[in-house]
């Protein structure tokens, strides 16, 4: 007899979890049984998603950012390439689209988020991939590259339909890079750039939001807040808000609504209304059943949907799966740590570092001497570029990245001075 861990999804979270678990269970048994690991994914193309931001500007191409999934998994891990039909959480079995039934002792949900383009009226209607694009998938980012290269000027609108989205800073980065791109092309004065967001500011957290708003102003990007897109009129060239406001465009780049995967909805008792999987934000065990864990974009934990979050979650997740199989209590170790480089154009970037309790603050990372936080620098830009190397060679392999731990470092952060009681902020 063997124990079986089934991992659904072979992206960032699924791959790093499989490799870490494999490294442990090569040498350890559970109840004197061996442990086998199966990873299921619908395709064999592992996309480095942060690279999508650079594709529209000709700074990265598909061959640079896609590698075979199977090759990222260590020898001894089984890779099953097929879609997932549903999970029966009562009989601990996954039903795959190719007809295979896969019983499990532990299940890991790592199937990420889905772009729900169909939920916004008109989004994929007339003008789709001609005037209306997204860069959140590879076909979209590639089509947009051609469009941007030929763009002669006019109104460029970047629109986030609603939260949550993957990498909530990516739309801002797109605006900053567009400013740089059109400056380089010598037509910046002919392009009006607007950022239309459902949030009440540039970002979700106050200190970073203020800093990023300043940067938008500096780069001449208009900000439209609390805009909830009800309809995209590709032919008429306008976004129509539910409140009746309209934003005109010659070229719209839209970040569609995100949902969990459809199989989650077909699996009784697994997901919530948006097909995300309710998950304990500290242990990463799901609320569906004690032998089901979840990681990354597929969960409903109140952290950013980001690769760095997925990476830090991986530490705690793997430890807890081992504890669970060894009949030990779980560790409540995940603190919501997220760490994002924000590309700001002209060879610079800014870095933010935060968790459930501490919003992104200025200072330095990881300690007083280090990369500047919330401030543009060339060093951060280098960090952003180097991240791809770390992604393939360290992060996916489940190795630690030197100096970057799962819990957020407090050293080096400049906390705002608390306002005295009663004083107005």
């Amino acid at each position: 007899m063997t124990k079986r861990i089934v991992i659904l999804g072979g992206g960032t979270g699924g791959t790093l979890t499989a490799n870490r678990l494999h490294r442990h269970f090569k040498h350890h048994r559970v109840d004197s049984e061996e442990v086998e690991i199966v990873v299921v994914d619908q395709d064999n193309q592992h996309l480095y998603q942060p690279g999508l931001l650079f594709v529209p500007f000709g700074l990265a191409h598909d061959q640079d950012i896609v590698r075979p999934r199977k090759k990222q998994l260590q020898h001894g891990i089984e890779f099953e390439q097929t879609g997932i039909d549903h999970v029966d959480i009562h009989s601990d079995t996954v039903y795959l689209e190719n007809g295979r039934e896969l019983p499990y002792d532990v299940l890991v949900i790592a199937t990420g988020a889905r772009l729900a383009t169909e939920e916004t009226e008109g989004l994929t209607g007339p003008g789709w991939n001609e005037k209306v694009f997204t860069f959140y998938d590879l076909p979209g980012a590639t089509a947009l590259e051609e469009k941007l290269a030929a763009f002669e000027g006019g109104k460029l609108v970047l629109n986030v339909v609603d939260m949550p989205i993957k990498c909530p800073v990516a739309p801002l980065e797109f605006c900053f890079l567009a400013d740089w791109f059109f400056t380089e092309r010598g037509i910046r004065d002919k392009v009006e750039i607007t950022y239309a967001t459902p949030l009440d500011g540039a970002f979700t957290k106050p200190v970073a939001s203020a800093a990023l708003s300043d940067l938008l102003v500096e780069k001449g990007v208009n900000l439209v807040t609390e805009f909830n897109t009800g309809e995209v009129d590709g032919e008429g060239g306008k976004l129509i808000g539910y409140d009746g406001r309209e934003v005109e465009f010659d070229l719209a780049v839209v970040i569609p609504l995100h949902s969990g995967q459809e199989y989650v909805g077909r699996s009784d008792g697994l997901g919530d209304d948006l097909n995300f999987v309710p998950t304990d934000q500290r242990t990463l065990q799901t609320k569906a059943k004690e032998n089901i864990f979840a990681i990354g974009d597929a969960t409903n934990v109140p952290a950013s949907k980001a690769g760095s979050v997925t990476h830090f979650e991986g530490d705690v997740l793997v430890e807890n799966i081992i504890k669970f199989l060894d009949h030990k209590p779980l560790d409540e170790g995940y603190d919501g740590h997220a760490n994002c480089f924000i590309e700001t154009g002209f060879g610079k970037a800014l870095l933010i570092d935060f968790n459930y309790d501490t919003e992104p603050l200025p200072g330095h990372f990881p300690a007083k001497v280090g990369m500047p936080l919330l401030k543009e620098s060339r060093l951060n830009h280098m960090g952003k570029l180097m991240f791809q190397w770390f992604y393939w060679h360290a992060l996916l392999q489940g190795r630690d990245i030197p100096g970057i731990g799962a819990t957020m470092p407090q050293h080096g952060k400049e906390h705002p001075t608390p306002t005295p009681e009663g004083a107005s902020a």
Binding site: M163, P164, P168, N228, G230, Y242, D243, L274, P302, S304
Partner: protein, 105 residues
């Protein structure tokens, strides 16, 4: 923080006008707050939304986003904006006496 008096009872509000204590809220207060926000009378559809907001808040610790409201409250997103023109999630949360929905990060 500030205070306001609705239906004869004084309650504490935060800087953005949301209730500090959702348990201090009564339906009569909602009627009065609605008038101040430009809604003449709360219709059964308004109430459907407010009740759903409170139920979600007490179950999940935060009010729902517009998208979840549109899916589950029994009123679709377009109609939600007609009922609560200043933004359904925030406005309905205020009238329902719960904190501003966290939205997402």
């Amino acid at each position: 923080m500030s205070t306001a008096t609705y239906a004869g009872v004084t309650v504490e509000l935060n800087d953005e006008g949301f209730f500090e204590d959702p348990n201090a809220w009564t339906p009569e207060m909602a009627e009065e707050m609605a008038k101040a926000e430009g809604i003449d009378a709360l219709t059964p559809d308004h109430w459907k939304v407010l009740e759903y907001m409170r139920k979600e808040y007490f179950e999940k610790g935060t009010g729902p986003t517009v998208r979840v409201l549109g899916k589950n409250s029994g009123v679709d997103v377009k109609a939600l904006y007609q009922l609560f023109p200043k933004g359904p999630a925030k406005m309905a949360a205020r009238l329902a006496g719960i904190p501003k929905p966290k939205g997402c990060i």
